[in-house]
Amino acid sequence: MNYPFWDVPYLSGGGVIGLIATYHLLIALFAVGGGLYLPLAERKALKEGRDDWFGVLKSHSKFFLILTAAFGTTSGVGIWFAIGLANPEATSTLIHNFVFGWAIEYVFFIVELTTAAIYYYTWDKIDPKLHLKIGYVYAASSWLTLVIINGILTFMLTPGSTWLSVAGSGNEASVFWYAFFNPTYFPSLVLRTLISWNLAGIWALVTASRLDGFRHGKLKHEIISWSAKWLIPGFVLVPFCFLWYLAMVPEAQRQLLDLGISTIGQGTFTQITRSALITVMTSATIIALVYFVAVRNSKSFGLGWAISLVLLAFAATASTEQAREMLRKPYVIGDFMYSNGVRKSEVEKYNAEGYLTHSSWAANSVKGFYSDSETIEAADLKKGELMFRGQCGACHTEKGYRAMNNLLKDRDETAIGNILQMLHENKDDSPYRKYMPPLVGKDDEIKALAAYLKQISVNASK
């Protein structure tokens, strides 16, 4: 608890990240795929001399510019804000490692945004060939932003043995490229590129659906068919790339997938299985709808269907990202930092010397509790609350997302104490070990946490 904890009721800080990230991804990957879609479509139109295509493309590029600039850029910054709020410790680690990675991404980003603006504002105003070239520069720079950010994202799941071997020694910077091109880097890059093409096709259908198919049937059908082709590479290759990706994930993490199937019961254990089910089903539905409803029925393909496709893509993206996040459990940075910001290397120190005493924040607060509060019990509750915020709050809320009041319903203090003890000992056969960090701290801190959790569960059963 090096930093104060951002306590978002019902949703949790992680939930805020998840929402922003999914929404961002849907647009950002569109920016990457759509970046290639536009110049390739323009090239086709130029080659075939299709005036009517230009009208549609121009309208699409406007939609594209506004969507990627006003909603994509800001939500990207939003993820960054949100991770800084919800998990400052991990964000700090990432930034110290990758600050120049981000700086490089930023260069591509500037080129990307500038060319996007030029591309839209110079339709009809410059030589079409030059215009097309600008489009290609845009496509390249937007893909390069993905090339960079992918390194940082995949690092969190698989930092790789080289980086882990120097982690904590102060020489992390010397292995920058190992951390960057980590084991899951390439499968993830290919996967994301394929998905970006899919999204380019889906978003293009939104523009196409606005055309009146009864009057401009040929144009509409052509545009829809051409856009639908953007889904083919992803459709064919994603399953294989996904297996490749999984092969690169450490065995311990892969077991989490199995956990969802072998352990029965609702709620806690089966999240990855459920996410996978949704991803597979929504993806298949997208393909089926694009072919049977959009391509085969282009004439009457309307905005409602197009939006349904985008929503399905949203569901697929959200559940994939959720699965990826779950796969990282119990870490936020694989094998280095637990999801609550406790470094793996610090566990023993905290257990021996206390968790709260090592947070400059809490150390002062706790002293204050015991001098200000009327009873020791009241002070314990406050101390327990700090423990809860620091160690549980990253994934649990009191009521709401993974709510303690639901999980602890009808438990007495002994039962709660037993669970906490099991989390604290974190033995090899503990069923929680695979996805929950060890509970760290001295006995009095853990007792205070139990008292606080007991209070929550009592409040819950009222």
Binding site: K218, H221, F235, S283, A284, Y291, R411, D429, P431
Partner: protein, 166 residues
């Protein structure tokens, strides 16, 4: 800009029987349709299969192993427990204060956590949701467990303990 012929053109091109769709394209499309269908069959069929097959799988795994031999377990101190694997599942051998041996399945009947013996209370407890069982009979005393722990037969031999399915 767009005339009647063009629309007819489209209508025709949307038709399945249009010769314009050549053989390889058509077979690609059919492959696609087949793949989507396979995905649906898998996403729905797998859970349904698992659902229906549960009792069979249980029976198979339960009958697969009928005994376990624990070398040296006859020296187990009183009021303590030894965890062991009975087939693939955890089980526990408890020696009570009066020196008697009891062997029980160690999987909580509530949600499947591994239970543990608490020598202070002389009870078996599940840390996950606070279930409590009697250490001698395995019967569920308090908390959420709906059923008692399965009890095994115990045979103490010289230098080892033999646990068999009751």
């Amino acid at each position: 800009m767009i005339n009647e012929d063009a629309i007819n053109d489209i209508l025709r091109s949307q038709d399945n029987d249009d010769p314009e769709i050549d053989g390889s394209k058509r077979s690609f499309l059919w492959m696609g349709v087949g793949a989507i269908g396979a995905v649906y069959v898998g996403a729905i069929g797998y859970p349904v299969y698992k659902y229906l097959a549960t009792p069979a799988e249980r029976a198979a795994s339960e009958t697969a192993v009928n005994s376990a031999t624990l070398d040296g377990a006859d020296k187990l101190p009183v009021n303590s427990a030894l965890m062991f694997k009975f087939g693939t599942k955890p089980a526990m051998l408890i020696r009570s204060a009066d020196g008697n041996f009891v062997a029980l399945n160690a999987v909580c009947t509530h949600l499947g956590c591994t239970v543990k013996y608490n020598p202070e209370t002389v009870r078996i407890e599940c840390a996950c949701h606070g279930g409590v069982y009697d250490a001698k009979t395995g019967s569920n005393i308090s908390g959420p467990p709906p059923k008692p722990l399965t009890k095994f037969n115990v045979e103490v031999q010289d230098g080892r303990v033999l646990v068999t399915r009751a």
